[in-house]
């Protein structure tokens, strides 16, 4: 019964034996440490072409979030986890809508707004 979960498995539950799980936390820690150090190094380094730094930081952050999901939350695309995976996909979809939608709308409003000096002139 430990591995077969007829109604699916809740996230964060063990997949394998305890030793495998302990190893998963250690591997996750190693990956997370490397990615964190790489992020802080990249943000301060002059070795990298400046405009590329934000892209690199975004890639490193997304990679680290993936590491946390897989090694700490034990999330996978296994059939008994399809509920958890679909919920995550929907959560990420809504988050992306909120963030990129806000940025798009506010940039558009900024673009269409009259320059401040003209606005003050009109109010006079």
């Amino acid at each position: 019964m430990s591995n077969s979960a007829p109604q699916g498995r809740s996230p964060g539950k063990a997949t394998h034996g305890a030793a495998d799980n302990a190893r998963s936390y250690v591997i996750g820690l190693a990956f997370a440490l490397v990615l964190t150090c790489a992020s802080f190094w990249a943000s301060a380094s002059s070795l990298i072409y400046g405009p590329a730094v934000p892209v690199l930081l975004a890639v490193l952050a997304i990679a680290q979030m993936g590491v946390h999901l897989v090694f700490f939350l034990h999330l996978s695309s296994a059939p008994d986890q399809s509920n958890n995976f679909l919920a995550l996909a929907f959560g990420l979809f809504v988050s992306a809508l909120v963030v990129f939608g806000s940025l798009l709308i506010m940039a558009n409003l900024n673009h269409n707004m009259m320059p401040m000096d003209r606005l003050l002139e009109l109010q006079r």
């Binding site: 019964m1 077969s4 979960a5 007829p6 109604q7 699916g8 498995r9 809740s10 996230p11 964060g12 539950k13 063990a14 305890a18 799980n21 302990a22 936390y25 250690v26 996750g28 820690l29 997370a32 440490l33 964190t36 992020s39 802080f40 943000s43 301060a44 934000p54 930081l57 975004a58 490193l60 952050a61 680290q64 979030m65 946390h68 999901l69 700490f72 939350l73 509920n83 958890n84 919920a87 995550l88 929907f90 959560g91 809504v94 988050s95 992306a96 909120v98 963030v99 939608g101 806000s102 940025l103 506010m106």
Partner: protein, 208 residues
């Protein structure tokens, strides 16, 4: 003999359609429900992130992020939170095995590491406010304190929850109810670390 029974039971379970197998066990329901709550919490953080991304340039003549933030301090904070996430993971393994001393050991380590993270964050906040750059100084600072403060409030709540869980472990032992709550706490704590990855990348490393 036992394994033969187990195999035949599994075969029967596979024959019954999923919709007719009856309710899932409480551990699955509680874990999945808490996972849904966490995702809605992450959407809440997405709104704070969106506000910060829109307002991060609006300093109204006040200090910018680059002059306020110390990357070394944030790096140390990040390490404390990361290690507390790992000790929490080992703690939840100890809960699965029903090992009380180890559970206490790892969870108290989580409590201490999380407490140091919170203390570092609070001293950072008080330092920034002391220079006259409080949340009311500019839209950028309002968004900063809202986003990082929301994460800090979650960490504070998580630490209080962990203290309650340790007391419940002492009172009830490893009841199924207590185990379920430990699983939910571990999910919460790992999710906070995931949000912090976004915070340190966008707020501190992306500071202009």
């Amino acid at each position: 003999m036992m394994s033969a029974i187990a195999v035949s039971q599994r075969a029967v379970e596979d024959d019954i359609p999923l919709s007719m197998r009856g309710p899932a066990p409480a551990s699955v329901v509680a874990g999945f429900g808490f996972w849904l709550f966490l995702l809605s919490d992450i959407i809440l953080f997405a709104a704070f992130f969106a506000a910060y991304a829109v307002l991060s340039g609006e300093t109204a003549g006040g200090p910018s992020g680059l002059s306020l933030f110390h990357k070394q301090r944030v790096f140390i904070e990040t390490l404390f939170l990361l290690f507390s996430s790992v000790t929490c993971g080992f703690g939840s393994l100890a809960v699965q095995r029903g090992n009380r001393p180890r559970t206490c050991l790892w969870m108290i380590a989580t409590l201490l590491l999380g407490g140091v993270f919170l203390a570092l964050e609070l001293t950072e906040f008080s330092g920034i406010v002391a220079t006259g750059a409080g949340p009311s100084r500019s839209a950028f600072l309002s968004a900063f304190f809202a986003l990082v403060g929301a994460h800090g409030a979650h960490v504070t709540f998580g630490l209080a929850w962990l203290v309650v869980m340790l007391l419940q472990l002492g009172t009830f032992g490893f009841e199924p109810m207590v185990r379920r709550r430990f699983v939910c706490f571990a999910l919460f704590w790992h999710a906070l670390d995931i949000v912090w990855v976004g915070v340190f990348t966008i707020v501190y490393l992306g500071a202009r």
